[in-house]
């Protein structure tokens, strides 16, 4: 496996983990990992989450990965846009 492919596999695994964390943090009992689209919007039109849900997800990510989500609404809108953007945020924070 090439270096890029290995990174891609890691990211895919991380995205699946984050979907599980979201389902667990928000007690989405009727939702499976497969039901959450990696690029789908988490808020408003998408999964319909709100800022209180974002806080629960932030707490869960901080507990699981030791990454800190700053109190920056503009930046957080980008980070919490989708599972993909959350996974990118976590992997960048962990690498630094």
């Amino acid at each position: 496996m090439s270096h890029a492919a290995a990174l891609g596999a890691d990211l895919l695994e991380l995205e699946t983990e984050i979907k599980k964390i979201i389902i667990d943090a928000l007690m989405l009992e009727d939702t499976a990992v497969e039901d959450i689209e990696t690029d789908g919007a988490l808020f408003d039109s998408g999964l319909g989450l709100d800022s209180i849900d974002a806080l629960e997800i932030a707490i869960a990510l901080e507990g699981r990965y030791g990454v800190t989500v700053e109190d920056d609404p503009e930046k957080n809108r980008q980070i919490f846009a989708s599972v993909r953007s959350l996974a990118q945020f976590v992997s960048e924070k962990r690498a630094s």
């Binding site: 943090a25 007690m27 709100d50 800022s51 209180i52 932030a58 707490i59 901080e62 109190d71 609404p73």
Partner: protein, 276 residues
């Protein structure tokens, strides 16, 4: 005793479900002191209304062992009309409150017939607290905490005595959901003491909780409770605390508090940023 229930305008019961249109009485009992100059219906009162309506109109009398996915998204004000929807299943009771098409609050109860009523502990001789002021926005009888027993960078320990004047205390018992308010006020007390060196205490609002466990049916007058709030994240904006309350001797640690708690959970609040 003043008005403690909403003014019902319409009731639509269905099988295991209920829709209610109601109005907040302008002279509701819980508005004075919550908050002075800014009256709004406390979250624990909304939650109590849900349980009372389910008991009266759906025959659901099983006590709640937990409140889950609790959210307070907008204030409910004196005179405001609102719609309340309830759905009951064998072990669950879900609710949503809306006003003018906008969500106000929502959550669900986990119900458990086997929920015990804890044995009241003898009221201990109150330990002399250090000189720590209880800085809370709540006033009068809506201030349910009595004193700060200890305060550190991470956690604050308070106590409260249940009495006949305690909000929601009826027939000599205060329901376990009063615990939500005790936990919320302990969070506020921690914020008040932590911000003492700042320009002025900042206001905070309870926005919700993923899960609050209720391990008893209620509290009895004369009972002295300890209440502990430990800061988890955030200084302003969205903040989170893990909280617990119980009877008898105050706990020495978070682990002990959790183990002996009668009510425990993680609570989230919105704290106004500095200068707001």
């Amino acid at each position: 005793m003043g008005i403690t229930t909403p003014e019902l305008l319409a009731l639509r019961p269905a099988e295991n479900a209920l829709e209610v249109r109601a109005r907040v009485p302008a002279d509701l009992d819980f508005l004075e002191g919550h908050f002075p100059g800014h009256p709004l219906v406390p979250g624990f009162v909304q939650v109590h209304w849900v349980l009372a309506l389910a008991r009266q109109h759906l025959g659901v009398s099983t006590p709640p062992a937990a409140v889950e996915l609790l959210k307070f998204r907008a204030p409910l004000l004196p005179g405001q009309e609102f719609a309340l929807k309830l759905r009951a299943t064998a072990q669950r009771l879900g609710f949503e409150i809306e006003s003018a098409g906008q969500p106000v609050s929502s959550g669900r109860f986990q119900l458990d017939d086997a929920l015990p009523q804890h044995d009241p502990e003898p009221v201990l001789a109150a330990p002399t607290p250090p000189d720590l002021p209880l800085l809370l926005p709540q006033a009068g009888r809506m201030r349910v905490l009595e004193r700060v027993l200890a305060h550190g960078r991470r956690a604050t320990l308070c106590d409260a005595v249940i009495g006949p004047d305690t909000p929601l205390c009826e027939n000599d018992v205060a329901p376990a959901v009063l615990g939500i308010e005790l936990l919320a006020q302990c969070m506020a007390a921690h914020g008040g003491l932590s911000g003492r060196d700042g320009p002025q205490p900042r206001r905070g609002f309870l926005v919700g909780s993923r899960r609050i466990e209720l391990r008893t049916r209620g509290f009895l007058p004369g009972e002295r409770l300890w209440v502990r709030a430990e800061h988890v994240r955030g200084e302003s904006g969205m903040v989170a605390f893990r909280c617990a309350l119980g009877a008898a001797a105050p706990p020495a640690s978070h682990a002990e508090a959790q183990a002996r708690a009668l009510v425990a959970g993680s609570l989230n609040a919105f704290v106004e940023p500095p200068g707001a």
